[in-house]
Symmetry: C2
Subunit: 236 residues, 2 copies
């Protein structure tokens, strides 16, 4: 009888954009993995892959997957299962697979679609990464939250009244998923007299990072990897 | 005339506990800095220093500083200024200083006491780090927040009614600064029917990490580096 070794699944955070913000552990696992997988829409390059490009060894199998949008949950489930089939095949054949995740794998990341489908079938290890709110604060050079502050991550897609209530109740916030919701958020910040505290940044720590005064942002040109921070005012 | 070079101040996140969770950038700066500074109470070892101990070169100047507690803000200000005087002296003498920060420097860290006093006088660069909520989720193996979730960091020191309101309004939370407030938080989670979702962890990713079922935690033995996560229930 021959024992068949099943591959191990790694979800590794590659950080916010600067390739030097990979952890030593992510770097080690990336370089030793036979298979490297990442998400990418068909017509675009993978951002996660571009972050680690300097470190790829050149003799690794690369797997590109994509989670198409589907409004019907059942259809989505089928599409997602199809999308990760090549990863399952590598794991079943005994090859470890490193899945690259922008920022941190378990923090608003698409890795969770894999995790919920595979972690009960294959040994899985998560390597946490530097997430974008911390990267944004570092790049802007502003302390984010202190002491007993309440810090919240809000999605710009939330309804106006929900966003307002959360902004009033927190001491510091990061607002993500801005894109076509940017102007709504800017208006809300204005209504709450928070505009002077708010900082806008695109692609924090990446080579094409931009910090733009919030009043100068073109609401029709807000990329997915953008964020507004409202840092704490707690004094000490 | 001789131009005098002034040293540069680096605040580097050393991550949550596992030395391999330093970023490549933090590792490079740490090894090249002539002066390494860290906070430590007089009678205890520095946790940040212990995380990077494997990487210290052995011929670096080490500066240990401590921010004593003071109830009077003016007295505190004087004590903090005194505490960082050795760092100022190194910077003024042209030596770069790397300040070690557990987790991320700008996320509930004591680095902010230095930042607010020194960043206007010396060139300052922040290197973001892996923060403890992401490390805790990775260690426990639970997705934390997805899609349009509201994620909040709450301090266990907050009043009961404030904690309850925040727990009701968020989709996922991390509760920090538990220590002597643990039992209060456990009661609140019970009142809100959240105990079955809550996960307790001490020193996530460190060599002495402990994951304990929340009902089994001894409330008299809760360390500072502990956390409760209530992960999102969003389905996808």
């Amino acid at each position: 009888m021959v024992a068949i070794r099943i591959g191990k699944l790694y979800g590794i955070g590659v950080g916010p954009g600067d390739p030097e913000l990979l952890t030593l552990k992510a770097f080690r696992l990336l370089q030793s993995a036979p298979v490297v997988a990442y998400q990418s829409a068909n017509d675009r390059d993978s951002i996660a892959r571009s972050i680690v490009a300097p470190y790829l060894t050149g003799n690794q199998i690369e797997v590109c997957f994509h989670f198409p949008r589907a409004l019907d949950p059942e259809a989505a489930n089928q599409l997602y299962s199809d999308a990760i089939r090549p990863i399952v095949a590598h794991l079943a054949a005994g090859r470890d697979v490193v899945v690259l995740c922008c920022g941190d794998p378990l923090f608003y990341g698409s890795f969770m679609y894999l995790f919920t489908r595979l972690a009960d079938r294959f040994e899985t290890e998560i390597v946490p990464g530097v997430c974008s709110p911390m990267a944004a604060a570092a790049a802007i050079g502003t302390p984010l939250c202190y002491q007993n502050d309440i810090f919240s991550i809000l999605s710009a897609t939330l309804p106006t009244e929900r966003l307002k209530a959360q902004l009033i109740n927190a001491d510091a916030v990061g607002i993500i998923k801005l894109r076509r919701h940017f102007e709504k958020v800017r208006q809300i910040l204005g209504d709450l007299d928070l505009l002077s505290r708010a900082k806008y940044i695109e692609r924090a720590t990446a080579i094409d990072q931009k910090i733009i005064p919030i009043e100068s942002v073109n609401p029709h040109d807000v990329p997915y990897f953008s964020m507004i921070l409202v840092p704490s005012q707690t004094q000490f």
